[in-house]
């Protein structure tokens, strides 16, 4: 191993790397959170303004000169808003506008112009959202839309309602406060150099001792990150409080303005509760303000601690990551890695193209699938980003946590065929029975074909391999046709023999039988070829010796044939278990899961969740579970086959 001073140097490098990574991550996350808090405050303030002017418009009757006057007066007193537009769907009218362009010939009221299509579409979208949320009695579609329009401005739009039905749109454009400057580098530098310096001093004192050096390094980095995180957390809490105060102030200001305008414009309708102006995108009050427009301390504290918890979790992860880096570097992991790469440079170069291909074609889709399994991705939200639809282990809990595959209903007990454990049970039954049929029939046919005296052996062999040579979906469709209730050859033979026709796909048992027969037909040739090859490699003198010893045919089979077949058959069985477990074509084409998804195996079920029920996240979780099962099987199988090799 390395010379004496290396220990200290290595740990010093580890502390430097760990502290740099940790401080960098913490700084990034905190800047992000603080930016988000600032944006949220700005948006809430803008929403309050929008709600205030909407209430004014609504109280002025929603249309006519009163609306235009009210809006103009409101605009004059609200400098933070650069323009207001009021749109009424009936007749596609721009009912009022304070936009600088909308004067003279373009002054409201007028019909929308062709280039104002986005305003109309926005109104339609919001109206549909309001109606959808009412019909479904939940908050799913945003009723207030906010979009940046460039130049540091935000455009907000909310519905204008007439007799509580959406009848138009109120849109405001507000200038945002410039985003707070990103935190300076001073804290980052302190959090980087302080632990480095302290560790340097400690290292000099401690000398070349591995464990104390390690402890000292971890403590130094952890303490500096802890300090950095704590200060940032309390700063963000203060920022949130300031934000709440700012929103409250905006509410009071707007309350005063609307009151003054309704007095001067003689608007009779009762004034609304200003506390309810602070709403989320679904127009549901956030409850952070009480009805007189002051901050509700209790609710604010709840919200602050909720945000804090979330940020703390992220910061802890960042800290763990940087400590891991420290340990890897300090304990010599990094230098070892560097050395290997250097030593086997050529080997790594050779496999680089293959690794690249696998990254793109295997690892990326796999990682994407696994990531998707933690989301609620479905037909409705394909355009949303992954963090927005993240639900953690929800899908896995749904799949694995539902043990109720036997349900009691009105008509007695019945099996819930969509339950994961039923499908798993069925898949195992399907795999075991298929492999058993494949091996037995393949072995018997191989033994027959191995008879030396058999005439026309090559012809039989070719005929028996044919089912394997045909594309399996064609075979599957042919068999499905043969099981047709009225015109299928199997029922016609049954009827010719005096039995009544069977509706094969009506009951789970008969439906299973059709798939079993089809797959049996497809799987015996493989087993037959494998066994035949192994049979022909058994030396004939073994049998001769056995005969001389007076062994019967059965004894010969048990003592010579079977053990000699084992090295060939065990891998064949292992591989056909995996094939059958995932035999999509046969199930999908022959039974199609009929009746009522009872004959579905795991992969076809996953397919149906994805492409018939359009629950991509759920289907991804399903597939990940299937992968897990096969992984466990693969590991067990590896151990077993190593045992057979030995």
């Amino acid at each position: 191993m390395a010379a004496a001073p290396a220990q200290r140097l290595r740990f010093l490098a580890g502390v430097a790397l760990g502290a740099a990574l940790g401080a960098g991550l913490v700084r990034g996350f905190v800047a992000d959170a603080s930016g988000q808090a600032a944006d949220a405050t700005e948006e809430r303030k803008a929403v309050v303004a929008l709600q205030a002017v909407t209430s004014l418009v609504q109280r002025a009757g929603g249309e006519g000169e009163a609306v235009r006057k009210g809006v103009a007066a409101w605009q004059a007193r609200t400098p933070s808003v650069s323009q207001v537009r009021v749109f009424v769907a009936d007749g596609m009218r721009l009912e009022g506008s304070t936009a600088p362009d909308d004067t003279g010939e373009r002054a409201a009221p007028r019909r929308l112009r062709r280039e104002e299509k986005p305003l109309y579409d926005r109104a339609q979208r919001i109206a549909a959202a309001v109606r959808t949320n009412r019909e479904e009695q939940q908050a799913r579609k945003p009723e207030i839309e906010a979009a940046p329009v460039g130049g540091g401005r935000l455009s907000l739009a909310g519905p204008l309602e007439k007799q509580s039905a959406p009848a138009g749109l109120v849109e405001v454009e507000t200038a945002l406060q410039p985003a707070p400057a990103r935190p300076g580098w001073s804290r980052f530098l302190l959090a980087f150099f302080a632990p480095l310096a302290i560790f340097g001093v400690l290292a000099l004192l401690l000398g070349e001792k591995r464990v104390p050096l390690l402890i000292a390094g971890v403590v130094c980095v952890a303490a500096s990150l802890l300090w950095m995180g704590r200060t940032a957390l309390s700063e963000i809490a203060r920022q949130q409080e300031r934000g709440a105060q700012a929103v409250a102030e905006r509410v009071r200001e707007q309350a005063a303005i609307t009151q003054a305008i309704s007095a001067s414009e003689a608007i009779q309708a009762p004034a609304p509760d200003p506390g309810s102006w602070d709403v989320d995108a679904f127009r549901q009050p956030r409850g952070l303000l009480s009805s007189d427009g002051s901050v509700n301390a209790q609710r604010l504290a709840d919200e602050v601690s909720a945000t804090g918890r979330e940020l703390r979790r992220t910061l802890l992860a960042a800290g763990a990551l940087s400590l891991a880096l420290l340990l890897t570097a300090g304990l010599g992991g990094l230098s070892a890695l560097g050395a290997t790469v250097k030593r086997h440079r050529q080997a790594y170069l050779y496999i680089a193209p293959a690794i690249l291909g696998m990254l793109v074609l295997v690892f990326f889709p796999f990682a994407y699938g696994v990531t998707l399994s933690f989301t609620d991705s479905n037909l409705y939200n394909t355009s949303k980003s992954i963090p927005e639809i993240w639900i953690g282990l929800g899908n896995y809990a749904d799949i694995l946590g539902d043990f109720a595959f036997i349900k009691k209903g009105e008509g007695g007990t019945f099996i819930n065929y969509l339950n994961f454990y039923w499908t798993l049970l069925f898949t195992i039954l399907w795999t075991v029975s298929n492999v058993a049929i494949g091996v037995t029939s393949g072995l018997i046919l191989a033994l027959i074909l191995n008879t030396k005296a058999l005439a026309l052996r090559p012809i039989y062999r070719v005929l028996l391999i044919l089912p394997w040579a045909m594309p399996n979906y064609i075979t599957a469709l042919i068999w499905k046709g043969m099981f047709h209730q009225q015109f299928g050859v199997i029922n016609q033979v049954l009827q010719a023999l005096g039995f009544s026709a069977v509706s094969w796909f009506d009951r789970p048992a008969t439906s299973f039988l059709t798939a079993l027969v089809t797959n049996g037909w497809l799987s015996f040739p493989f087993m037959m070829v494998v066994s035949l090859g192994a049979l022909q490699s058994i030396p004939a003198d073994l049998y001769e010796a056995a005969r001389v010893d007076g062994a019967s045919r059965w004894q010969q089979f048990k003592a010579i044939t079977l053990p000699s077949l084992r090295p060939a058959l065990v891998p064949a069985v292992i591989i056909s278990v995996v094939w059958t477990f995932n035999m999509f074509n046969i199930i999908y084409l022959v039974t199609g899961g009929e009746p009522g998804s009872s004959t579905e195996i795991l992969v076809t079920q996953a397919y149906k969740f994805a492409f018939e029920r359009y629950r991509y996240g759920y289907a991804a979780a399903y597939s990940t579970v299937i992968f897990g099962i096969l992984l466990v099987y693969g590991m067990v199988q590896n151990r077993v086959s190593r045992a057979t090799e030995a």
Binding site: R140, Y380, H484, D506
Partner: protein, 404 residues
């Protein structure tokens, strides 16, 4: 050397000449048409290009299998066409996913709106907003073998009487054959009884009493009247009709190409059902619409083209040469179109046809509905019980989709 120089000179000249042409607006149309439909669409776009030198419309045929997925993947990322042609069944899903289909409600003047068959316009409307212009529609109607049926039946009594006369199960002959265990085909009967899949607000209601009655009525045809074959696959229906063993079938325009040359067939509207208060069978129709892609850079020009494509003159070309049933009412006033028995038959049928729901929730319905149809027609469950199971399944799936 000399030749090379000349080629270079030509190339330079071409380069210099292009800026004049660069002012044209390029519009790309994706469709899944082949053969005569493709040729008709190309003819219409060529006519448009000739008339509008400032715009250049190019059409691109995309294989049908991958078409919808391609739209879902390419369009929201701004890699797709300006215009695409597709049936209304995916419309709701694309709108909910966002940034795929541009609403055209704003462009639509009452005159343009008025030129379409109202139900086809309804198919293009999602939650109160129009998202495309209807191009054509497809629905099932009654197709009969003229050798076996002289006059097509007007109502269910006549239908059953004629069908019974033409049924001989031992010989494999049936008076009536259609894919009744396919929910799409069954919908015609269901709608006659006033059935539906969704109530307002896309609330699943597949187990409503009318749907139960419709299934019970289907069982009457199947068990009491014994006029239908068992397990009716589309291949079976084709074989029966082409062998002259099915007197009447319910099928759509896609089937006409598969009819054998020696079969003399006629088309007529689906019969009225006496047991449903003498109401007509009302098939589901799919309406192909022309949609503008939301990220398109030339929406105004695109709208101008889709207006042209769904206008009378284009509609006549699409009808006579592309064999499409135009959604434009005035197309049927054309003498040649009016004289076409096939186009006329589908035009008559569309009067009572109902657009298939364009809600994304509809995708949750097909699989449970297929189970209902299979278990009921094979007598594995009663109509009510099967529909109740399906209702529970659909409600669960829809709720799973909608939860935040």
């Amino acid at each position: 050397m000399d030749i090379l120089r000349r080629i270079l000179a030509i190339a330079v000249a071409a380069l210099v000449a292009t800026p004049a042409a660069a002012a044209t607006t390029e519009i790309v149309v994706w469709h899944a048409y082949r053969a005569e439909e493709k040729a008709a669409l190309e003819k219409v776009s060529a006519a448009y290009n000739a008339k509008h030198p400032a715009t250049r419309v190019t059409t691109l045929a995309v294989p049908y299998d991958a078409f919808a997925d391609k739209i879902s993947a390419a369009v929201p990322r701004g890699k797709g066409p300006d215009i695409f042609i597709y049936a209304q069944d995916r419309l709701g899903g694309w709108i909910e996913a966002g940034n795929t289909v541009e609403p055209v409600d704003f462009f639509l003047d009452p005159e343009t709106k008025g030129r379409f068959i109202p139900t086809t316009m309804e198919a293009m409307t999602y939650k109160g907003t129009v998202y495309g212009l209807p191009l054509n529609y497809k629905e099932i109607t009654l197709i009969y073998n003229k050798k076996l049926v002289a006059n097509p039946p007007k109502d269910s009594d006549e239908l059953v009487a004629m069908a019974k006369k033409n049924t001989d199960k031992a010989a494999g002959r049936f008076g009536l054959a259609y894919a009744y265990s396919d929910y799409y085909y069954h919908a015609a009967l269901q709608n006659a009884f006033g059935g539906h899949v969704f109530e307002t607000g896309a609330k699943p209601a597949i187990n409503n009493p009318a749907n139960v009655k419709a299934l019970e009525y289907l069982l009457k045809w199947l068990d009491k009247d014994q006029i239908l074959p068992a397990e009716p696959s589309t291949a079976l229906i084709t074989a029966l009709f082409n062998d002259g063993k099915a007197a009447m079938i319910f099928n759509g325009p896609w089937f006409l190409g598969e009819i054998a040359k020696d079969i003399d067939y006629g088309l007529a509207p689906l019969p009225r059902i006496k047991e449903a208060g003498d109401k007509p069978m009302r098939p589901w129709m799919t309406v192909e619409g022309v949609f503008i892609a939301a990220p398109s850079k030339s929406k105004d020009a695109s709208y101008d083209f889709i207006k042209f494509l769904t206008d009378k003159d284009a509609g006549i070309i699409m009808a006579l040469e592309g064999r499409q049933s135009s959604a434009n009412k005035s197309v049927y006033a054309d003498a040649k179109v009016a004289a076409d028995p096939v186009l006329k038959a589908f035009r008559d049928q569309v009067e009572v046809a109902i657009p298939m729901p364009n809600l994304p929730e509809m995708t949750m319905v097909w699989s449970p509905a297929t189970t209902v149809m299979n278990s009921v027609t094979r007598h594995a469950a009663s109509p009510k019980a099967a529909l109740d199971t399906a209702q529970a399944q659909i409600s669960k799936d829809v709720a799973g989709l909608r939860k935040k």
